[in-house]
């Protein structure tokens, strides 16, 4: 059975499976970093986010070495991802489909996305060699909460995460996670698992309702994040942003404002893809978390009153 690799967790994997493909998130097929670089490898500009950079390499490796029945579906949500699709389509003609994603969620946007999904289905079935399957054999992102979300913990906002390493790091530092807002989060995955393929219009509407990611309308995103923060009841917020990510850059400003409105300590860190808990990053997160504990400790202190030796006024 041929694989249909995909770049975005928002894609309805049931659509890929129904067309006879095994859906595989491309983030699960990253190139081994120890593998020597090839001179003729596809190159992207260094001012490109690590996610896109890694996916270009992963796609080139999987498509070049796999059967020609395999394909790749790129959700062209941001400029960098759209250009990734362009590059791979030029390199692997007939094997790549770029799905345009609207920003807003209005009826025009729903109609537009429904048309895009219809085109995708036509393209998939037109080149498929397998028979319709269930999505049970899919390989989605594997990020999960180390322990269930805990109110009072840290709320993490991030772009795509390769795995749960960042959440594990917080656990190692003795802090619970109150929620994860990421396109690879289990919350997103679970919400999408229930999206049935009734008709393209309702599918598009549902995808736009669920997938309120940083590239979407600021107003929608603000409402979405408000709801998530209020439900998660966190004690602080960390934004794990990938460098050279435009939607992430503007989203981080929005999240900082929401944290400030709630009086929550906020930290923005730059992370790579795949995630690596480097020394400086670990130290920054540790210092941020410790500063909160320190504040709490200071509040709890029974300070002696000024003026008398025994602390009595």
């Amino acid at each position: 059975m041929a694989n249909a690799y995909y770049t975005c967790n928002l894609l309805p994997i049931q659509l890929l499976a129904s067309a006879g493909y095994s859906p595989v998130w491309l983030g699960n097929r990253l190139v081994d970093p120890n593998q020597p670089a090839r001179r003729e490898a596809l190159a992207v500009h260094p001012m490109t986010c690590p996610y896109v950079t890694q996916l270009v390499a992963a796609a080139e490796q999987t498509l070049a070495n796999g059967p020609t029945e395999d394909c790749l579906v790129v959700a062209g949500g941001c400029d960098a991802m759209r250009r990734l699709g362009d590059l791979l389509l030029a390199s692997f003609p007939g094997q790549v489909f770029v799905l345009s994603m609207p920003r807003s969620g209005d009826t025009g946007a729903q109609r537009f996305l429904a048309d895009e999904l219809r085109s995708l289905e036509r393209w998939l079935t037109g080149r498929a060699t397998g028979t319709a399957e269930s999505a049970a054999g899919a390989e989605p992102p594997t990020v999960d909460y180390p322990r269930g979300p805990s109110p009072g913990g840290v709320f993490v906002v991030a772009g795509p995460l390769s795995d749960a390493s960042f959440l594990d790091l917080l656990g190692e530092l003795g802090v619970a996670v109150s929620g994860l807002e990421s396109c690879t989060s289990p919350d997103r995955r679970q919400a999408l698992a229930g999206v049935a393929e009734a008709d393209f219009s309702s599918l598009a509407a549902e995808l736009l309702r669920v997938g309120v990611c940083p590239r979407r309308s600021t107003r929608l995103r603000r409402e979405h994040l408000r709801g998530r923060l209020d439900a998660a009841a966190p004690s602080s917020v960390i934004y794990a942003r990938q460098s050279f990510c435009d939607p992430g850059a503007y989203d981080a400003v929005l999240v900082a404002q929401l944290a400030q409105e709630r009086g929550l300590p906020y930290l923005e860190v730059e992370i790579g893809f795949p995630f690596e808990a480097s020394g400086p990053l670990r130290t920054r997160v540790e210092a941020f978390l410790e500063s909160q504990l320190l504040d709490d400790d200071l509040l709890d202190w029974d300070l002696p009153a000024v003026g008398t030796a025994d602390g009595k006024e």
Binding site: R103, F112, Y250, L254
Partner: protein, 413 residues
């Protein structure tokens, strides 16, 4: 000599200085009598009005059809043009310092970063509405909507699907975009309480388009050789004037030798053969070193990709389909393959000696297409160079590297 800081304040003395500053610019224009000088005057004059109390300030994206605003007598505030103007003025240091203090990541497009810092620090007027288009990039949509949310003003974006690599966008797509433009035009009237005259704006825009179209076809046919860098700077500023009487007259000035006198191609050094280059993407606005080097090496930019704007005449009685088509099939929009095909064809038609792509800082749309564009030029046997830089920078760490790359490239071609 007053500076930008003096003319953008909201006081009687600022108004007087503004008047004196404009008079001086007008005097320069009257002396030169060139399209470029008059366009500077009219763009400056219209933009300074945006600082007046009670002014309606529509922040719009670079490709937004500004005739929809001219219909209501409104001048657009285009972030890219605002940023380029401020960083070329005596407010440069202040706006750069403000941008450095902002929480927004430094790796986003500098046009947008500077524009945000400027509006947050009263160096550009706050928006009354923010209007975007899907082309060209997502970053400016994020910027415009963020500003709209912050200032509590309306935001609209015109959703424009990607055109096919070959041929035109379908009539259904054009009709959908036209409907969005029509609804937005009505909304602008509702928000401002003004009466529209889109027919007049379109007739004026068409006059400008007819003139600009003639200049461009003469350039493409080799009948007219203009300096692409200076021409781009003029058209860039002209974005503020489409659909206005001043804009129509200024573009028509390009039809006379005197009117385009300061935009012509340089004369060859020592009578030698000049190398003619195609420039892709934006240009460094304030950094003259690269272009000085070109002159020293007897080379110049004969044509600029971004000058290909507003070349169509649009039916003034039913303008929305034409305005929509201008967006859906814009040469700067579409896939990397489309961009590569269009530019290779352009390079062949112009018989250029090479092409330069300017990788503007933080522009994922532009630099993301470079691998495909480069391959297409290499396949066509046309020398191609991509240089990194910041369109708003003066000097800086990347300049030296770019100069070396350019020097080697010119030796090659």
């Amino acid at each position: 000599m007053p500076g930008m800081a003096d003319v953008t304040a909201n006081s009687l003395s600022a108004a007087l200085i503004r008047g004196a500053f404009l008079a001086q610019t007008r005097w320069k224009a009257m002396q030169a009598r060139t399209a470029r000088r008059y366009m500077e005057l009219h763009a400056l004059s219209a933009s300074l009005d945006l600082f007046k109390p009670g002014a309606v300030v529509p922040w719009v994206s670079y490709l937004f059809p500004t005739e929809l605003l001219a219909s209501y007598g409104l001048t657009p505030m285009i972030p890219e043009i605002g940023s380029a103007t401020l960083t070329g003025s005596d407010l440069r240091e202040a706006v750069e310092a403000a941008a450095a203090r902002m929480p927004l990541a430094r790796d986003v497009c500098s046009y947008h970063r500077i524009a945000l810092a400027a509006v947050e620090n009263n160096m550009l007027p706050a928006p009354s509405m923010c209007l975007g288009t899907t082309p060209l990039c997502l970053g400016k949509e994020c910027l415009l909507e963020m500003l709209a949310v912050k200032h509590g003003v309306p935001f609209r974006d015109i959703r424009v699907p990607l055109p096919p690599d070959d041929g035109e966008a379908s009539p259904a797509v054009v009709a959908d975009v036209a409907d969005q433009l029509r609804a937005l035009h009505d909304d602008i009237g509702r928000w401002t309480g003004r009466k529209p005259d889109l027919g007049k704006a379109m007739r004026l825009s068409n006059r400008a388009s007819a003139a600009w179209g003639r200049v461009m076809s003469d350039r493409l046919a080799g009948r007219l050789e203009m300096n692409g860098r200076k021409t781009f700077a003029t058209v860039f500023l002209g974005q503020l004037l489409w659909g206005t009487e001043a804009g129509a007259k200024d573009f028509e000035r390009l039809l006379t030798e005197r009117g385009r006198g300061d935009l012509m191609a340089p004369t060859p050094l020592n009578g030698g053969k000049q190398r003619r280059l195609l420039w892709l993407h934006t240009v460094p606005h304030h950094d003259k070193e690269l272009f000085n080097l070109l002159e020293q090496k007897n080379a110049y930019v004969v044509f600029e990709e971004m000058g290909q704007m507003h070349l169509e005449i649009i039916d003034p009685d039913n303008p929305f389909p034409g305005l929509a088509r201008r967006l859906t099939d814009h040469t700067l929009w579409g896939t990397s393959t489309r961009r590569a095909q269009l530019n290779v064809a352009l390079a062949k038609r112009l018989k250029v000696d090479g092409a330069i792509h300017f990788n503007h800082w933080g522009c994922r749309h532009g630099l993301g297409s470079v691998p495909v564009v480069r391959d297409a030029f290499v396949e066509a046997g046309i020398p191609f160079l991509a240089i990194d830089g910041d369109a708003l920078a003066r000097g800086g760490p990347s300049q030296e590297k770019s100069l070396q790359q350019m020097e080697s490239f010119l030796e090659l071609v």
